[in-house]
Symmetry: D2
Subunit: 434 residues, 4 copies
């Protein structure tokens, strides 16, 4: 039976009339992926299904039971996504039963979180002005069998999962398991990563907010370095596999003197020489370091003993460089004017902020489309934006392309070089890596 | 003579080596415009030339004399654009003579602004953290003959103009006049409008920053209204022709009860009835009103006498509605609990803020590409982003498509309706407009 | 019966032990009022009772029923005061029954607000990070008889009233009426006014937060004015009777060119000449105007017709000056470069912000001491700070000294003159006022 | 020869008239220090000279040569102090020669900083909206002989020194040395410390701004902890000797679960048990730790090896506790739900921010009075505020009372206990410290 997609807002007692969407998206509508064309190319187009409300929905009113879960690290906008998933399910589609799963995948099955909590309008009314996730989150806790059974047991037929590429891989397995059990359940993802390293899509939500706070941290480091003779500021930013935050925050902050990202390997000598040259010339130096940068350097780093007495490898490239720069400059600068190095790690302050306005609108859009897709019967997709258009991307396409990396031959990196006046690493250095 | 595009940063004494771009953009590279495809469509593609540095530049080092001018109202990011135009001209292309034209078009020719000021690195070093425009701006002052003569007289051959659609129309005439005079001068635009009503392009710079501050203003109005019995907040936002700011700020702020934009006409009765219903139900009401909304209503508004004693028509839809709502509710609510209406106009506080991080990166990108285009010999284009890609759009294409308007049958408006729970205006109302 | 003041936190199940205050304040402890001494003065000291927890409390555990009400306009910090009144009553003194009175004095008696709402820890857990007042507020609704009867009827014996001088006058009458009825009820005030015009005390809560946002608004106006040829910015700030906000925001923002306050009368000519001189010299001018300034000027202002068609006197000195400056400069500046005047009224955006950290600590302190005083049996006092020390000031002393005014011969005004370079008004002008 | 204190603003071409101060402060005016009185006390009063412009100044116009230096760590407001010292010297007293000493005490004598830089109005015009210090700062570089000689050589007769208690001690020695050389030079201090541990005075400038950003950091840590199962947040704040920032930020942020300061020693067991109890009860725990807290604990801490390979004692109490809590909870919580500890150190981000409005007004006041005092012939004093009044405090009084400490039996600490519900340390613990 096909059903007409009618906004059932009357049910919630807000308006007295009945209204419908202006225009429905048809399933044949697609969005092209490769929009930059070169003369010699063939014109076969890769494309994704366009997102939006469909004229026909596959679920009867009252039939839907939904649940929402957030997994992994914090990211600005999580509460906006939760808020809007709820709003559209509840007000636009009249869904009554919407569970909030606590603290990530474990919340599905652990007895501590039983019974599942049903969300209400008043519970989520004010969450979107706050950072973090109203539902809590966690890494781990994934137990496919228990999760699938819990979903089956609660009769849930729409599962909304907000998380990164690991979370999405797990979501796909859940979908397959539910399919194996012959359950009619939609599994829908909303990609979340503060590192912006989800492939295919324009950008992940919260990224603009992260850039903002990251560049504020850089500006603080800059003030500190400039006011101190031979001041050196090292700002470690998020980005295990990709330098998106480090590079964009650098471009926003300007006046950064060196930016290190996982995609571009510098030798220790190149870094130290550059820092010393900058300090000697302008009296201070500001570095932005993605947390995943310099893996080539850390391999040679000495072991340290931490506060718990454990012997371990240096884990933080920023702290490692702090030590190296200090030692290197000590022998090359006048004893009376040593470098004064300040280490900044604003990571958690960035992750826990509420989303800025534009990211909030983006979250709203992603969440609304996630629900439209599920109501239309799609499953195994993630709600995204590609080439400035809303689309449904198969989860498998997203996970295959993630984590993505910044193109070290691309425009963003080029712009960073032009801002920082740092030089590209020498070719032989890159060669020696192989 | 064709010249190789070599970064001449050595000249500025910053690095000792010589470097070049990783990859040049070829002129055949284009970006598709229509990326959402429908089955039955033909596949002829409209496209724009891709922006980026070209391998060959048409100007010899030392030959270029450039000038930069900003026109029209303030918008976050102007200083970022000025800063980066200067940086790329000066550091990447070794241009020595870069004039800053003061206070818009008038600054080209008015004796008050003679001699033109040459920009230096120290002058623009810190401007991008400040709001407004370092060069000053103004509306008007356009005198084609005098501007062209001043450009000729100063021997300037690259003119960078930052402004809205009116400014771009004027820029095209300048280009034609210079052409008529057989002068080899590039005229390059960077589109600027706080209203985001430039057609074709993804969005204009400063828009995300504007949304942020606009939604903050809405949240203030909300607090004020919620704390007052029968409190009504009216927030007037920018948007003479288009509701982009009003709608996006509404989506970001959430909990708005009515949003009025120029593209959708409501009757006075519909507005008043909705406000009264909301106030009666929840005890307060928050309205967001684009400054250009409700022109249909203002035609019938009475004349007022202003503080200077001038008799004139009501110019502000927000103030007009304030009066109407007050009168309407007076007769329908208990005398002891009248509506308490607060009027908010945050316009200038929004326009004058510095750009947020993401907008700063966007400005940097637009400005760098503007210079790359000019150095490659392009003229009469504007530096923009279409479908998430950097492109050069002919000025005539931009002006023909501007001011653009929000699609009243589109997704953004639909989302506003779903947030505010306001109903679409009655059809006959729309009909009666014809 | 006297009772020992013991922290009864055990009751709330938070700690297992029992704890008491480190040091109790004795009733003989006082705080001197006049701490600046002149040689020839006699040394009789005016002083107030020092605030703080007393060793003996007059109420038995379980005996207290309290209520909290907020009256008048919004002010940053209201929620912090409510939050901490509740916390100390509930956790430190074990009070179970704490009513929140809605929307000011009317909330005591109006049937719409029956039954009174009992506050719970979860209700107030997160309010202090939000602007406005959780309880709502309003002006008016004062009915002595009904309020006293409602208090009697509910058996409330501690009434906490947060409001301005009018509210405090009303509070004293309530206390007298309850006394007349031979009811043992404490009436306690916490002084609130965004204008900071409460006499005797160091400053009212929320003032520092207000200064912050006011100076931000001035900086916006400054950017706007500086970027426009002959730009004039007029910023109207709160202050009907007193220029505390206008002067302090001016000192914080710096670079203001003229500041007008109710305590100092300038002639229209003096103002216009100063503005024209500044515009002619530096190309722009920024004025800060307290809303109560220039009453002498408004008396001569023409009538206007507002948007509702009502004929009335100009009510806003800022708008009046806008008209006057525009007309005055029109005849004195070149026609091609008229003044461009922007009017800014950030009032509601300032009032509705959450309190900044220091104000939050101040609110906490005022609220804790209010409760300590009531528990010790004091009534008819307001919790305040005088000479950097916490004190209890009799309500009658506060109301007699309010609204207070800035000393036009004092240091703050002198500092404003030194910042703005505006001159003091001519003596004859002051004389003509008599 | 005595000279009349006349504002010489005419000289700077700003106003055409001549103006004078409304009221001069007489040298007999004093401000009482002990304003809280107890019945039995004697009434001998300790007092300081009141600050303000004097009628007679000891310097002839044109005679004064001043210099300004900032020493030690960054603190919000340094630029405001520099800005206003310059403004009052230059505009109010017509001083032409005002040197800016670079990078602290070393800047007086090191050849690298020769010749001294003369400050101009345009150099300092916009500094007060920026963090840090325009002059640069540093620790160390103090060489009494060289400094005194440099001052003598430059003919400087007013030395303004902004710094902490160490800096003030050095300033007094400079004064004595100059005196020994029979030079007529005023040495004036403005107390600066982000820790607020300067004795005698109400508070040091920048403290309110520091509290604000510190409490923001705590709120971030709270979001992070709340969203994570068994999340523990440790926020290290400034305060080597005193817990002023830690306690006040805790009071502003609320919902903190434990606050540790140098003035109150807890045993490791007490801390660990409290944290475990809180985590077990509410699922997360937020700690605020002053950097100087827990010295008793660090004595027993194991050695670690840092990134440079150096073996050293654990220096950070926060990191030490992180390790201890992790180990302690590991054996007491279910293995599947370990504590997740996040360490936050916002120190440099706080130090480098620009001052908030109220602190800016405070800086302006301190700086103006510093100059008034010097012009009146005072020397060896520091410009301060005591009991809400501006005073001149002898440098020796300030240094004798610094660093000051929070009273562990006082109200602030009591409020912290009432907020955090942590218990006071056991008596025997305190005893064992002796």
């Amino acid at each position: 039976v096909e059903r007409k997609n009618v906004l059932v807002r009357t049910k919630r007692g807000i308006t007295s009339g009945e209204t419908t969407y202006n225009r429905f998206t048809r399933d044949q509508e697609v969005v092209l992926v490769d929009v930059a064309r070169y003369e010699q190319e063939n014109h076969e187009a890769k494309c994704f299904v366009r997102a939006g409300p469909r004229e026909r929905v596959v679920w009867a009113p009252g039939e839907v039971k939904a649940c929402i879960v957030t997994c992994g690290g914090l990211c600005p906008g999580l509460n906006d996504v939760i808020h809007e998933l709820f709003q559209v399910l509840y007000y636009n589609y009249g869904v009554d039963v919407i569970y909030g799963i606590r603290n990530g995948y474990r919340g599905f099955w652990h007895e501590k979180y039983r019974p599942w909590e049903r969300l209400t309008p008043s519970m989520i009314a004010h969450i979107s002005q706050q950072g973090g996730t109203f539902l809590g989150s966690s890494r781990g806790g994934y137990d496919l069998e228990k999760i699938a059974s819990a979903i089956e047991e609660h009769g849930v037929n729409q599962v909304y999962i907000v998380g990164g590429d690991g979370t999405h891989r797990a979501a796909e397995l859940i979908m397959q398991e539910l399919h194996r059990r012959k359950l009619k359940v939609c599994v829908v993802g909303v990609p979340k990563t503060i590192d912006n390293d989800v492939g295919v899509i324009d950008r992940s939500f919260g990224f603009n907010t992260a850039i903002k706070h990251a560049s504020t941290a850089i500006l603080s480091a800059m003030v500190e370095a400039q006011c101190t003779p031979n001041g050196v500021g090292i700002v470690t930013l998020m980005g295990r596999h990709a330098g998106f935050i480090a590079t964009n925050a650098t471009l926003a902050a300007k006046n950064v003197d060196m930016c290190l990202i996982p995609e571009v390997d510098y030798s220790l000598t190149e870094i130290l020489e550059h820092v010393l040259a900058v300090v000697s010339r302008q009296g201070h130096c500001v570095m932005v370091v993605a947390e995943g940068a310099g893996e080539n350097l850390l391999q040679d780093a000495p072991s340290i003993t931490d506060e718990s007495g454990n012997v371990k490898k240096v884990g933080s490239i920023g702290l490692y460089l702090k030590g190296q720069i200090s030692a290197y400059c000590a022998s090359r600068l006048p004893a009376e004017e040593p470098v004064s190095i300040k280490y900044h790690d604003p990571s958690y302050m960035i992750r826990s902020t509420p989303a800025e306005a534009e990211d909030r609108v983006y979250c709203l859009q992603l969440a609304q489309n996630a629900v439209h897709g599920a109501m239309a019967g799609y499953t195994g997709f993630t709600s995204s934006q590609v080439n400035h258009r809303s689309v449904y991307v198969p989860i498998s396409v997203i996970t295959a392309a993630s984590p993505s990396r910044l193109n070290p031959k691309g425009r963003t990196w080029e712009r960073v070089l032009s801002i920082t006046h740092q030089r590209e690493p020498k070719k032989k250095q890159l060669a020696s890596k192989l």
